[in-house]
Structure formats: structure tokens, C-alpha cells
């Protein structure tokens, strides 16, 4: 047991850098960074609380306030499942401390436990950001007893377990299958994307699944329990607490976690070894040497890193793929969106298809903003260099050139997806020439803007000593801020566009204004990168 605690302590100290940021940070800087993290958490928590409170407005009147809790339990569980699927590939099977951990006189199940526990702690913290404000909102609006707090505490601690277990099993299967192929990274990306799209499709059609279950259920709680036991059990404890159900709830989660550890540890070493095996197929002595410009060579190097880092591709690519899917859906069957919304009891007092047709350029502009800011690639590009960052610092190339090349590489990754989306929308709706020019300009400027923000954040908050790529892409402060900043920019853009259009401003003027503002911000960011970013670049010591 002492060994396990020592290992957990060492692992968590090393892995939870997001909460320490940098060992070398000056005291004042450290408190600023901690303050920023607390501010972000408080902002998210407050937004969730406001949203939950708004939902409770109508639901408490009909005695169904618990539906808010169900909603947040389901949302956090789905998010944890998605994160578990594509993070487990790196967190469990691509760790840099493998040689040390697997050479220690400890059981392989202990190694697995430590790694899954690390994932659990992160998911617990993320889930808490959503669950605690919703629970507080419910507690304020409803007359709750001490059993609510006891059940909620157990729920906060235990609810991440089931999605993590499922995510790890699926992640393990994906790594196991893909490791059989020579191009295993590519296979891992494709299979993971397929799984995530599958989850997306299932949740898009969830209403028919619910209808089927509801037909055979006697109460709402019965529906939830049949749909997803942990959510149903928790809501059951909130509405009608029983100590037996409480103990069963705890026992079931611990048992699921234990069984997963037992089963996965039997094959963990095998999958891990195979995942780390590099298949060498070439013994050709002939090789090509081709001279390229500095920028071209750095962009090619960044592409190589990007396509060989599955968690990086999936994180950035999923939003871009969804952007194209959204454009295709709008193009193929716009009218069905209205009936889709009606399935969720959303009654529209206007013709959605007509509105979309009338404001297609503005809608596309907002979609491009969303796809750009939510797919920030550069927010982890510096951190992913790891110890190889010294290569970049030792070469005779200006830091500005290196930074801008990284930004260009990221923009080039995004551009094809955005242009495909544009073409689909151009084909469906009547865009005039000016609108086409403005949208094409936005398609270049907005990804550039998003990637300049990303690189500026990563230069300010680098994480150069991560155990694996998932820690950088999903659990570093720069990516965290980029994600939430992206959400804020998207919301702000939609708000401004909607407000200006509803006040009667011409569509072309709104689009043109958006492009001009984006160009101005880009210019400011380029100056920032050149003046301050390069200093930050040189200050990063590995």
C-alpha cells in the first residue's frame, strides 16, 4: 500500500502540472496563473449556474427540477466518454515513463491503476465544473435534505467512473487494433474519428431511442435508469433516498472499476508493447534529398508532427469535420432541420429554411468563426516540441520565422475543410460576388486569427515536460484557455452579427466589418508575436 501511495504521489505531482504550471515560475507569476485558472473556473461555474437556474424556472413548477440534474449528468458523462476514448490511447499506451514504470517491482495492474486514476482525477475536476453549479442551483430552488448533499457528493466522486471505464476499453481496443498496422497512427485516427462520429450520430437520434424505452417504462426516473444506470440511480437518491440504493450505487461503481482493472491489466502489457513496437519495412539505401526554403521545411516538419499525433489530429480535426458535416446537412436537406427541431419540442414561429436562405453568408461566417476558434492547433504546437525544442533554439533562424511558420502550417491544415464547407454553401445558396469574396477572405483571416491567438497562448503558457501528447493537447493551460476563449469568441460573434442584422444593417456591411475587424486583430497579434512572442520563445528553457 505504501508503494502505491508513493507511486500515486510521484505520478500526480508530475502529471498535475496544469495546477502548478511551472516549477521555475516566479512567485508573482505563479499566483497570476493560479488566479487565471480560478477565474476561468469561476466564470464557467457561474455560466453553468445561470443556465441551470434558468432551466429550473419552469421545471420546478411541475415538480421535475431533477431533470436539470439528469441533463448535466448525461452531458458530463458523454463528454467524459469522448475524452476517455481519445485520451486513453496516449494516457495509457504512449507514456514516456514506461521504461521506468514497467521495470519497477510492481504489478502491471498497479501501473494501469495509476494511469487510469490520473485520467479519473482530471475528469473529476472537469465534471465538477459542470455538476457542482447545477447541484447548487437545484439545492437553492428545491427544499433538499442532508441526503441530497450525501448523494451528490457520492455522485460527483463516482459518476466519472463508468464513462472512463468504457472510454478506456474502447481506447484500448482502438490502440490494440491499430497497432497491427504499419500506419498505426493513421488507423488510430480513422477508427477513433469513426467512434466519435458514431457517438454523435447516436445522440442525434437519441429521441427515437428514448421513445422506445419510455414506451416500456413506468416513470421518468425509470426511463433514465434504463437509459443510463448511474444517472437514474443518482436521481433516484435525490428524489427518494434509500440507504440500500446508496450503498448499491457505491458498490456498483467500485465493482465496475475493479473489474475493468482486472480484465484490462491481463492484456495491458501486450497492447502496450505492441503499440510501442515500430515496424521497419524499408532497407532501401536510396534516399531523396531536396532543398527547400526555411518556411517550407518548418511547415513540412509541423505536418509530420501533426499527422503522427493522433490525439492532436482528433482534437483539431473533429470540429473541422463537423463544420463540413453541418454544411452538407444544410445543403442536402435544410427543411428537415425544422422537423428535427420539432422532434425536440422546439416550436418555431418563423420559417427556418427562409431565414437560413436570407442570412446564409452571415450564418456561414459564424460557422467559420466557430470552426476556426474551436480547432486551435497552435495552442499546443510549442509544448508538443518537448525536449526537441532546443533544436529550434539552436538553428540559425529568427524565432519570428519559426513561430509564423507554425501558424501557417496550422492554417494550411484548416483551410481545405473550411473551403470545402464554403463551396458546399456557395452551391446551395445565392451568394453575390462581394459575399463570396468576403467569405473567402474570412476563410483565410479567421483561421489565421485563431492560430495566432493559439500560438500567443502557448508561448505564454508552455508545457514542455509532459508525459504524453494527450497531457499537452487536452490538459495544458494554453489549450484550456484557447478552448474557453474560443467559446467566448463564438458566442460574441453570433451576438454581434445577430444584433447588427436585426438593427437593419446591410448583410455585406456586417460581413465586411467582421473581416476588417479580424484583419486588424490579426495585425495586432502579428506585431505581438514579433515583439513579445519571440522574447517568450527565447525564455522557454528545456
Amino acid at each position: 500500500m505504501g508503494k502505491l501511495f508513493s507511486l500515486l504521489k510521484a505520478s500526480m505531482t508530475d502529471g498535475m502540472q496544469i495546477f502548478r504550471i511551472s516549477k521555475n515560475s516566479a512567485k508573482g507569476k505563479k499566483s497570476n496563473q493560479t488566479g487565471l485558472l480560478i477565474a476561468i473556473a469561476a466564470l464557467i461555474g457561474f455560466s453553468i449556474w445561470v443556465y441551470a437556474d434558468k432551466l429550473l424556472d419552469s421545471l420546478t413548477d411541475v415538480g421535475a427540477g431533477f431533470v436539470v440534474l439528469t441533463l448535466f449528468v448525461i452531458i458530463t458523462s458523454v463528454l467524459t466518454l469522448v475524452e476517455g476514448i481519445y485520451k486513453s490511447g496516449d494516457l495509457l499506451f504512449n507514456c514516456r515513463d514506461d521504461d521506468l514504470m514497467l521495470s519497477l517491482p510492481i504489478k502491471k495492474s498497479t501501473v494501469l491503476f495509476i494511469r487510469v486514476f490520473k485520467l479519473y482525477v482530471f475528469e473529476l475536476l472537469y465534471n465538477s465544473l459542470f455538476l457542482i453549479p447545477a447541484m447548487i442551483a437545484y439545492a437553492i430552488r428545491t427544499d433538499v435534505s442532508w441526503t441530497f448533499y450525501l448523494s451528490s457528493l457520492a455522485a460527483i466522486l463516482l459518476l466519472p467512473i463508468v464513462p472512463i471505464v468504457i472510454g478506456c476499453i474502447i481506447g484500448g481496443v482502438i490502440v490494440g487494433v491499430s497497432s497491427r498496422f504499419r500506419l498505426k497512427n493513421l488507423v488510430q485516427i480513422i477508427v477513433t474519428m469513426a467512434f466519435l462520429l458514431g457517438i454523435f450520430i447516436v445522440f442525434s437520434n437519441i429521441n427515437s431511442v428514448i421513445a422506445g424505452i419510455a414506451a416500456n417504462a413506468t416513470s421518468i426516473n425509470d426511463v433514465i435508469t434504463r437509459l443510463y444506470y448511474p444517472a437514474g440511480a443518482y436521481i433516484g437518491m435525490v428524489t427518494n433516498f434509500s440507504i440500500i440504493n446508496f450503498l448499491i450505487f457505491i458498490a456498483v461503481h467500485i465493482a465496475i472499476f475493479g473489474v475493468m482493472l482486472l480484465v484490462l491489466s491481463k492484456i495491458y502489457y501486450k497492447i502496450n508493447s505492441r503499440a510501442k513496437t515500430i515496424k521497419i519495412h524499408t532497407h532501401k539505401t536510396a534516399y531523396k534529398i531536396k532543398r527547400r526554403s526555411v518556411i517550407h521545411a518548418i511547415i513540412a516538419k509541423e505536418f509530420n508532427k501533426f499527422i503522427n499525433t493522433p490525439v492532436f489530429v482528433i482534437n483539431a480535426g473533429f470540429g473541422l469535420v463537423l463544420f463540413v458535416v453541418a454544411c452538407v446537412l444544410v445543403n442536402v436537406n435544410l427543411d428537415s432541420i425544422t422537423s428535427f427541431l420539432q422532434n425536440y419540442d422546439v416550436e418555431l414561429d418563423f420559417n427556418l429554411a427562409e431565414i437560413v436562405k436570407q442570412f446564409a453568408p452571415a450564418i456561414l461566417f459564424c460557422l467559420i468563426v466557430m470552426a476556426s476558434v474551436m480547432s486551435s492547433i497552435t495552442s499546443s504546437m510549442i509544448s508538443l516540441e518537448g525536449r526537441a525544442f532546443n533544436i529550434l533554439k539552436s538553428i540559425p533562424v529568427k524565432p519570428t520565422t519559426i513561430i509564423i511558420s507554425k501558424v501557417l502550417a496550422a492554417v494550411l491544415v484548416m483551410l481545405p475543410f473550411i473551403l470545402i464547407g464554403d463551396l458546399i454553401m456557395f452551391a446551395k445558396f445565392d451568394f453575390n460576388l462581394l459575399e463570396i469574396i468576403l467569405i473567402l477572405l474570412a476563410s483565410i483571416v479567421l483561421p489565421l486569427l485563431a492560430e495566432l491567438i493559439g500560438i500567443a497562448l502557448n508561448l505564454k503558457y508552455p508545457k514542455m515536460n509532459a508525459e504524453n501528447d494527450a497531457e499537452v493537447v487536452k490538459q495544458s493551460i494554453s489549450t484550456l484557455i484557447a478552448t474557453f476563449l474560443g467559446m467566448g469568441i463564438t458566442a460574441l460573434t453570433i451576438f454581434i452579427v445577430a444584433q447588427t442584422l436585426s438593427s437593419g444593417a446591410p448583410l455585406d456591411l456586417v460581413l465586411g466589418g467582421g473581416v476588417v475587424v479580424s484583419i486588424l486583430i490579426c495585425t495586432g497579434l502579428i506585431i505581438y508575436v514579433d515583439k513579445i512572442g519571440t522574447k517568450k520563445f527565447l525564455q522557454i528553457n528545456v
Binding site: 532543398r291 527547400r292 525536449r387 538553428i395 525564455q539
Partner: protein, 234 residues
């Protein structure tokens, strides 16, 4: 030529380098020795422009690494102690990438890559990805990349670690050939026998301070370098 003038580097309250002064002239192989944590890698990273330093100046062929880092870096090549390369690249792509960064002409890079790949017996491995390599093969890849652009100043941190005996022999021959053509070599090492036989000058660093610097002959006299080093460490 490398000129190091009053270089001081601090990590918070800890002084990693204290007022370091010495020159490495053209045509010299200079060994930099010291125990673990003495400050060898810190000074090497300061010379190569990877880390900044608090006081003093470093000149590479008359150019300041502080005010003209790009010009300095163009003159030199750096081989780190632990070759952390771009793991997903093929060795040839990595070497070509470094050549691109130094803007090496096509014919020069073709000639040098072919020559050093043959020397280090890596011709059959250049098409393989670096993550399939052993430590020694990564070290050889880093050496080929460093030598491919024909640097005037070669700076290496523990260059012989992980190399097989033949590669060590070949590396020493390359170093001897380089100084004959007037180039400058500065490297840190713990292998004192090699330093003693190969180098014309030596510096010994202890807790961030230079305790000895000069020609190999003057420093060791009739004793072995190992004996001198151990006496200084007491």
C-alpha cells in the same frame, strides 16, 4: 573561434556559472570537463544561444551570440548530450531539415550526407523513422546532421556517449581532420582518456567556476588528466 568573457548565469539564487573566461582558437580541440551538475551543459547552451546568460559576452568568430545570434548560429553546429530529435521523421528527412535551416546548397548536402552516412554506417537506416533507432543511432543521426552543413565551429555535449567503438574512432578522426582545416571544436566529456589523447586545450569546471584552463600539456604535466581531475575534485 569562441571567446567567452566573464560569463555568469544564475538560476534564482543558485549561481550555475560564475565569471567564466576562456578562448577556443581556430584549429583547437577543446575539452570541457567537470563532475555532474558542475555547469558544463549550461555553458554549452549559453554558447549555442539556447539559454540566455546574466552577465558577460560570448563571441563566435567575432560575432556576439547576444546581439547577433543568427550569424553566430550559422557558423556553428551543436550536438546535444541526449539526442532528442523529431521522432516521427525519417533520419534522412531530419538531416535534410537541418540542412534546410542552414541553407546548405544541394550539391554540398548530397556530398556530406553521403560521406558521413557511410562513415557512421547509417546508409541503410536513413529511410527509417528515428523512433525506431537506438540511442547510438540517434546520436549518429545528430552528428551527420551537424556535420552536413560543414560548420566552422562544432560544439558537442558528451558526443561519445552511446556510440559504438568504431563510431568513436571515426568521430575522433573526423575531429582531427576538421582542426587540420582550421575549424574549432569544443566538447564536454567524462571520458578523460579520450580528452587527454585528442585535445589540445582543456578547461575544468567545478560548481560553476573554472578551476583550470590551458593547454593539455600545461595542465596535466607528467600526470594523467584523470589524476589531475580527481585531485581538483577533492
Amino acid at each position: 573561434m569562441i571567446e567567452i568573457k566573464n560569463v555568469t548565469k544564475k538560476y534564482g539564487n543558485k549561481t550555475a556559472l560564475k565569471n567564466i573566461n576562456f578562448d577556443v582558437n581556430n584549429g583547437e580541440i577543446f575539452a570541457f570537463i567537470g563532475h555532474n551538475g558542475a555547469g558544463k551543459t549550461t555553458l554549452i547552451k549559453a554558447i549555442t544561444g539556447i539559454h540566455d546568460f546574466d552577465e558577460g559576452e560570448i563571441f563566435i568568430n567575432g560575432k556576439s551570440i547576444k546581439t547577433d545570434p543568427i550569424a553566430c548560429k550559422k557558423e556553428m553546429a551543436y550536438v546535444p548530450d541526449n539526442p532528442e530529435l523529431y521522432e516521427n521523421m525519417r533520419a534522412i528527412d531530419y538531416i535534410n531539415f537541418i540542412c534546410d535551416m542552414y541553407e546548405v546548397p544541394q550539391n554540398v548536402r548530397e556530398k556530406n550526407i553521403s560521406r558521413y552516412a557511410k562513415t557512421f554506417e547509417m546508409e541503410n537506416n536513413l529511410n527509417d523513422t528515428i523512433n525506431s533507432f537506438s540511442h547510438g543511432m540517434k546520436q549518429k543521426t545528430a552528428l551527420i546532421a551537424a556535420l552536413a552543413h560543414d560548420p566552422k565551429v562544432l560544439i558537442m555535449d558528451e558526443p561519445f556517449v552511446g556510440l559504438d567503438p568504431k563510431a568513436v574512432f571515426d568521430m575522433k578522426e573526423i575531429m582531427r581532420a576538421m582542426i587540420k582545416s582550421g575549424k574549432t571544436i569544443f566538447f564536454s566529456t567524462h571520458i578523460l582518456d579520450v580528452a587527454e589523447k585528442l585535445c589540445t586545450k582543456v578547461a575544468i569546471i567545478k560548481k560553476g567556476e573554472l578551476v583550470k584552463v590551458g593547454s593539455m600539456k600545461a595542465i596535466k604535466g607528467d600526470k594523467s588528466l584523470e589524476k589531475i581531475f580527481l585531485e581538483l575534485e577533492k
